[in-house]
Structures are given as structure tokens and as C-alpha cells.
């Protein structure tokens, strides 16, 4: 295939990605150094109210936005350097928190709170997903052929469900005196409110995410188990391997590429945790990096959106995912070079 045909084939797709992914990234980088604000003017406004004895006039100094010709408030965009980043990271408060040696004070800053949750969410759910995925796959592989289909059907349901709805479904089981909360209360014999403090909400979110992603891992691993070479297993058995050694030295090494694949996908997806915050309505207790950007973007009562701050937090979020993915991508690159040599 020559260059020209190749470009004709990939053209539309690459154009889409340049227009709607690469270009917005450049815009975000630029926006993060600017602030757009309505232009205000300070006016002396005289308001008069009639009284019994005549008119009572008060002169007040008011700051009001200037209305342009088109009826909208005029706005101006200024270059502010790293001000947006400073407003997001809030270094003075970080330093103050460290000076006080106070973790709570540190966690009161939105960005660090979101970063802490996003990272711990990503890193805690990853082993859970891998473990339960593998367990389900091994079990499916272990049972009669006839019930594998129905089991896979049921397993697909949590994976395919709309994330917001999935989170809501879990929430409705636990909210107030929902049946699972009342079950827990009966079992532990104490009063439980799952949505009153941060750590229980985080627990539910991690439970939800594992429930949502484990089927994906399970099906990928199950497909990998089907391609397992039976001869290798037999020779391992002849060499005297017991069941655990067989799993440890034959099955797991065979699944390594798939484990890397699931890890990669899961890191990407769980780093952008967002739907859980919406579904559990947890913004008062737990927020994630994506939710922070979303919140900056949402217009406030005056109809203003803090685009600059959203861009700064977007850039920081992006740096995070790149750092997280570098080890994996480096592996892909080395693999590619190895294949070419």
C-alpha cells in the first residue's frame, strides 16, 4: 500500500482526532494561562425614594458589569501566567497545612482532596479487579460447558450497564433504610448511615467499580484460558506440579499479556472516575479530578464558567495520567523495538 492510498484511508479518522482531540488540547493549554472576566465599572448611583416630607436620596457606589451592544455583559480576556494553576493548587494553604502538620486542613483543599481520592481509587480497585476477574474466569473454566453461557450473560450485565445508573442502583440499596443498610444494621447491631461520612461512600464507590469492571477482566482472562496449551499443563503435571504450582508457573505466565492489557485499560478508566460522584451525589464528601474540572465548567448562578481554572485543572489531570501510563507505554515501545530487531 503506497503512501497516498494509506493517507486516503486514514484521512477522515485522523482529521477527526486532530480537530476534536489534538486541537482542543492546545486550546486548553492556552486557556489555562488566561482569565475571562466580565468588565465591571464603578458608578455612583443615586436612588431616590419618596417619603412624606419629600424625597430621600441616597448615593451609593456600585460595581456593575458593563452591558455591551448585544445585550450581553462585556467580558475581557487577560493573560495571567500561572495564576490559574496557583488558584487550583493553592500553595499557600498547602504550606499552612504542612506547617500545622494537619492532614485534615490539607484535605480541605479541593484539588488535593480530588487527587488523593482519584489515586487511591485507581490503585485500590486495580488489584481487586484483577483478583476477582481471575477468580471468576477460573471458576467459569471449571464448571460444565452448559452453564457457562448463562453465567457469562449474567456477568455481562454489570459491565454493560450505564455507569451513572449502576452507581445509582447500588446507592438505592443502601440509602437511608435501604434493604442492605437495614441488613447490615441487623447483622452488626448498630446504627449505620452509609452516606454520612466520606470513607463509607468511598468504600461503596470502590465496590461499585469492582462490580462494574471485574466481568470485563473475567471475560478477557477466560478467553486467555481457552488458548492455554494443554501439553504444557500435562508436562507440568508429569513433572510433579501440584494444583497451586500449575496455576503459579503455567497459567499465570500465560495470562501475563492479558493482565497487562486489563491493567492498562483499568488505569485509564478508573483514573477518570466521575460517574460515581454523580451517581452517589457525593460531592460534599468525595470528589475526583474529573469532577473538579466538571464543576469549574458548570455555570454558576450568574452564568459564568471558570474556564481558566478548569483548563488548569485539566492540564494537571493530564499530567497525572501521562505519569501513570509511562511505565506501561515504555513496555509497549520496548516490545515493538524488540519485534523489529
Amino acid at each position: 500500500m503506497n503512501k497516498k492510498t494509506f493517507f486516503a484511508f486514514i484521512g477522515p479518522s485522523v482529521l477527526m482526532m486532530v480537530l476534536f482531540i489534538a486541537l482542543p488540547l492546545v486550546t486548553v493549554l492556552k486557556q489555562s494561562f488566561y482569565v475571562t472576566q466580565p468588565v465591571y465599572e464603578t458608578l455612583d448611583v443615586e436612588t431616590c425614594t419618596p417619603t412624606f416630607t419629600g424625597q430621600l436620596c441616597v448615593v451609593e457606589t456600585k460595581t456593575i458589569p458593563i452591558i455591551g451592544d448585544n445585550g450581553k455583559a462585556l467580558s475581557q480576556t487577560n493573560f495571567v501566567g500561572f495564576l490559574n494553576y496557583q488558584n487550583v493548587i493553592e500553595f499557600p494553604r498547602v504550606i499552612a497545612a504542612f506547617a500545622d502538620n494537619s492532614w485534615n486542613q490539607f484535605m480541605a483543599i479541593d484539588f488535593w482532596k480530588a487527587l488523593r481520592f482519584t489515586l487511591s481509587f485507581t490503585l485500590i480497585t486495580l488489584p481487586l479487579v484483577l483478583f476477582f476477574g481471575l477468580l471468576i474466569a477460573l471458576c467459569i473454566n471449571n464448571v460444565a460447558q452448559s452453564i457457562r453461557g448463562p453465567v457469562i450473560f449474567v456477568s455481562l450485565l454489570p459491565m454493560i450497564i450505564t455507569p451513572v445508573i449502576g452507581a445509582l442502583a447500588i446507592k438505592w440499596l443502601f440509602i437511608g433504610d435501604g434493604i442492605l443498610t437495614s441488613f447490615l444494621e441487623w447483622w452488626l447491631a448498630k446504627d449505620i448511615a452509609m452516606f454520612a461520612q466520606a470513607w463509607t461512600i468511598e468504600l461503596l464507590m470502590m465496590f461499585y467499580r469492582t462490580w462494574h469492571v471485574a466481568p470485563f477482566a473475567a471475560i478477557v482472562f477466560y478467553a486467555g484460558l481457552q488458548t492455554l496449551n494443554q501439553d504444557t499443563i500435562e508436562s507440568a503435571i508429569i513433572d510433579g506440579a501440584n494444583r497451586w504450582e500449575k496455576l503459579r508457573y503455567v497459567v499465570l505466565p500465560h495470562l501475563i499479556p492479558l493482565i497487562v492489557f486489563v491493567t492498562l485499560i483499568h488505569l485509564m478508566d478508573s483514573y477518570r472516575v466521575f460517574e460515581e460522584v454523580v451517581g452517589f451525589s457525593s460531592q460534599a464528601h468525595v470528589i475526583s479530578l474529573q469532577w473538579l474540572t466538571y464543576d469549574f465548567l458548570t455555570s454558576d448562578l450568574m452564568g459564568n464558567r471558570s474556564i481558566g481554572r478548569a483548563s488548569a485543572s485539566s492540564m494537571l489531570t493530564m499530567i497525572g495520567i501521562v505519569l501513570l501510563l509511562i511505565p506501561v507505554l515504555r513496555g509497549v515501545w520496548l516490545d515493538y523495538k524488540g519485534k523489529r530487531l
Binding site: 479518522s13 457469562i152 445508573i165 438505592w172 485509564m268 477518570r272 474529573q290 485539566s314 492540564m315 507505554l329
Partner: protein, 385 residues
């Protein structure tokens, strides 16, 4: 020589496998099953702390809303026979009567007629027939299971969910068709080119796939809101405000979906031997003709699978649609957020539950019909590397 004792699993291990799978299936299906049960109960029952009350719904029953044994048996048997017909008779009819080469059209028409007639019979004729049967059959006709569809009618008619449903339909159809058109072309090109450039495009696509969507939305939003002014020098007064336009949202979702689509389609194309297009080329086809006439006809399974995942992305999306479409005119998923956020009374909550069940019902049927394609899609990227 095999050691039979080691090949044969001990009974305890097999039993615990079964036991764990039962446990997992219950856990996987329970939340979904439970919200469907809640959605047909009056608020007092739906949020009762006693699970039996939620299932049987005494409060709903006392309001005279329920199903009798006859209703349940009748409905279940109709569903059972519909499923039988759909897997037997319908398949045969479509295979016999669809014009050659347009099997998909036959399926589309067949499935639509079948679905419509099922809805007409199930929702149109059955209720009146059953109320007559219940009246004449004495004790068997007494209600035993609380059941009320009033929340569904609130959601769909009062809250105007039909409008949101139409928007979802427009957005998902647009996203699936466009991303498949662009994706198959690019996937084919990438699969058949061994150049360094192809490798780098794939790696960059992988990085793009990792981007949080909020980052991209931050890039679009100011431009979309002000696009009428920004584009005026180019388009004159016809310059559109992209904010709130379904087409703009579709374009954004297609772009976000593109990296994943080309990766998946590429791996499907790679599984088709390159000798096939070489043969077509020898017979005088250009690259595009080979793609169109020789490769695409054997690619349908891969295209359907990728289309399913594009559909899921567009259908399940919350962030992009809620940001780029007007709040009054969004798709179904953002619309439900406004419902559960203003839930002031328990009735509002159950209405939100009914909306949630309405949203996931199509997904349930999707898994039912396309289970094999979904599984092959999940493993396509992974197993072939």
C-alpha cells in the same frame, strides 16, 4: 501417560467453583433486579426496609394495584412464546424472504414488525382481556403481587422522557454510523500498512484514549458557546452556535470514540488474511474496491461488534452530553441526573428509579441478543495483542 487423579478435579474444588459462581451471579444481577422491582411499587413499599414488603408490596396492593396469579402466568407464557417464535419462526422467515445480499434489511424489518406486534398485543390487548378473566375466575383472580406502572407513565409522559429518548436515538445513531464509516477505513489502512507512521498513529490514539473526557470538554466549551461570533468571518450570518446542537455533540463523541474504534477494527482486519486483498488486486481491483467488495463482506462480525461498543459509549455518556447539550434538551442519561437531584419526596425517588430502569432495559436486550459479539469484542483487542 496421564495422572488421572491430578487431571480430575477434586469434588470440593468443583463444588466451590459452582458455589462461587452462584454467589457472583446473584451479586451481579441483584442490584439490577432490585431496582426493577422497586420501580413498580408505590414509594412506601419501594423503600421499605423489609425486603419481602418490597417484593410483594402490601401498600401497593391495598391501593388495588397488583397482579393476580392469572396475570403472572399469562404474561410469562406470552413472553416465553414470543422468545420461542423470535428464535425459531422469525429466523426462518427472515432467511426465506429477505432479498439476497440485503439480509440485514430483512432483519431490521422483521425485528421491527415483530417487536411492534409484541408491544401491541402485550400492552394493548392483554390488559383488557386479563381484567375480564380476573373478574370471572373468582379467588384465582385476586391480586397477590403489588404492581403499578404509574411511575413509568409519569416518567415518559409528564416528565417528557420521550423527548430525551428521541435525542438519545439521534445521538447514538449518528455516532455509530459515522464512527464505523471512518473507523473501518482507518482500521483497514492501519492493518495493511506496516510503516512506522501507522505504529505512531496507533500509539498516539492509545494516549488519546486515556484522556479524561473533561479535559476535552474544557477545550470545546468556550468555542462552542461563542462559535457564532468566532465563525462569522468565515460563514457570515449563517455561522451556527454549536452549543446545544446534536450534530456537534455527535462529532465530539465520534472523535472521542475514534481511538478505541480504530484499535478494535484494526485487530479484526488483521485476522483477515492479506492474501485475500492481494487476490482481488491481481484481478484488477484498486485498493478501495478490494476493501469495498472483498474485505467488507467478510468483516461484518467485526463491524457489528465495534458498532455495539460505539453504541454503548454514546448511549452511556453523561459528561459530554450534559455539558454540550442544553439542559432541557439532553439525552436520557443526563436527564435522569436532574430527576434524582431534585428528589424531594419519595415519589420523586421512585420516579427516578423508573427512569433508571427505562434507560437500562434496552441494554438488557442488547446483551441478550448480542452476547457473542460483545464477548468477541472484549477479547479481540486483548488476545491478538
Amino acid at each position: 501417560m496421564k495422572d488421572e487423579n491430578l487431571i480430575q478435579q477434586p469434588i470440593a474444588l468443583r463444588l466451590s467453583s459452582y458455589f462461587f459462581l452462584v454467589f457472583w451471579c446473584v451479586m451481579a444481577a441483584f442490584p439490577i433486579f432490585w431496582i426493577s422491582v422497586m420501580s413498580v411499587k408505590l414509594p412506601f413499599d419501594a423503600f421499605d426496609s423489609n425486603p419481602l414488603n418490597v417484593i410483594f408490596g402490601p401498600e401497593t396492593l391495598s391501593k388495588g394495584k397488583g397482579l393476580s396469579l392469572i396475570d403472572i402466568i399469562f404474561a410469562l407464557s406470552i413472553i416465553f412464546f414470543t422468545a420461542k417464535l423470535a428464535t425459531g419462526w422469525l429466523v426462518k422467515m427472515v432467511n426465506t424472504y429477505s432479498p439476497i445480499g440485503y439480509r440485514w434489511l430483512g432483519w431490521l424489518v422483521g425485528a421491527m414488525t415483530f417487536g411492534l406486534s409484541f408491544i401491541v398485543i402485550f400492552l394493548g390487548f392483554m390488559p383488557s382481556l386479563l381484567s375480564f378473566l380476573n373478574d370471572v375466575s373468582g379467588p384465582l383472580g385476586n391480586n397477590i403481587l403489588g404492581f403499578s406502572t404509574e411511575h413509568y407513565s409519569t416518567v415518559w409522559f409528564e416528565k417528557d422522557f420521550i423527548n430525551n429518548f428521541q435525542n438519545s436515538l439521534i445521538v447514538t445513531t449518528g455516532v455509530v454510523t459515522i464512527s464505523l464509516t471512518f473507523g473501518t477505513l482507518a482500521g483497514y489502512g492501519l492493518a495493511r500498512s506496516g510503516s512506522n507512521l501507522a505504529f505512531w498513529i496507533l500509539i498516539i490514539a492509545l494516549v488519546f484514549r486515556a484522556l479524561p473526557h473533561s479535559v476535552l470538554v474544557t477545550g470545546y466549551l468556550p468555542f462552542f458557546i461563542n462559535s457564532a461570533e468566532i465563525l462569522r468571518p468565515i460563514f457570515g450570518d449563517a455561522a451556527p452556535t454549536l452549543y446545544g446542537m446534536p450534530w456537534a455533540t455527535i462529532a465530539v463523541l465520534v472523535a472521542i470514540n475514534q481511538p478505541f474504534t480504530i484499535w478494535m477494527l484494526r485487530s479484526f482486519f488483521q485476522s483477515i488474511p492479506a492474501e485475500l486483498d492481494e487476490a482481488a488486486r491481481v484481478d484488477g481491483c484498486s485498493h478501495f474496491q478490494a476493501f469495498r467488495r472483498v474485505i467488507m463482506p467478510v468483516m461484518w462480525p467485526g463491524v457489528i461488534t465495534t458498532g455495539l461498543f460505539s453504541f454503548l459509549l454514546a448511549y452511556n455518556d453523561f459528561l459530554v452530553t450534559s455539558m454540550l447539550l442544553e439542559a432541557q434538551n439532553t439525552t436520557m442519561v443526563p436527564a435522569i441526573a436532574s430527576m434524582f437531584n431534585m428528589e424531594t419526596t419519595t415519589t420523586d425517588q421512585v420516579v427516578a428509579v423508573a427512569a433508571a430502569v427505562s434507560i437500562i432495559a434496552p441494554l438488557f436486550f442488547l446483551v441478550l441478543f448480542f452476547q457473542r459479539q460483545i464477548v468477541s469484542g472484549l477479547t479481540a483487542g486483548a488476545v491478538k495483542g
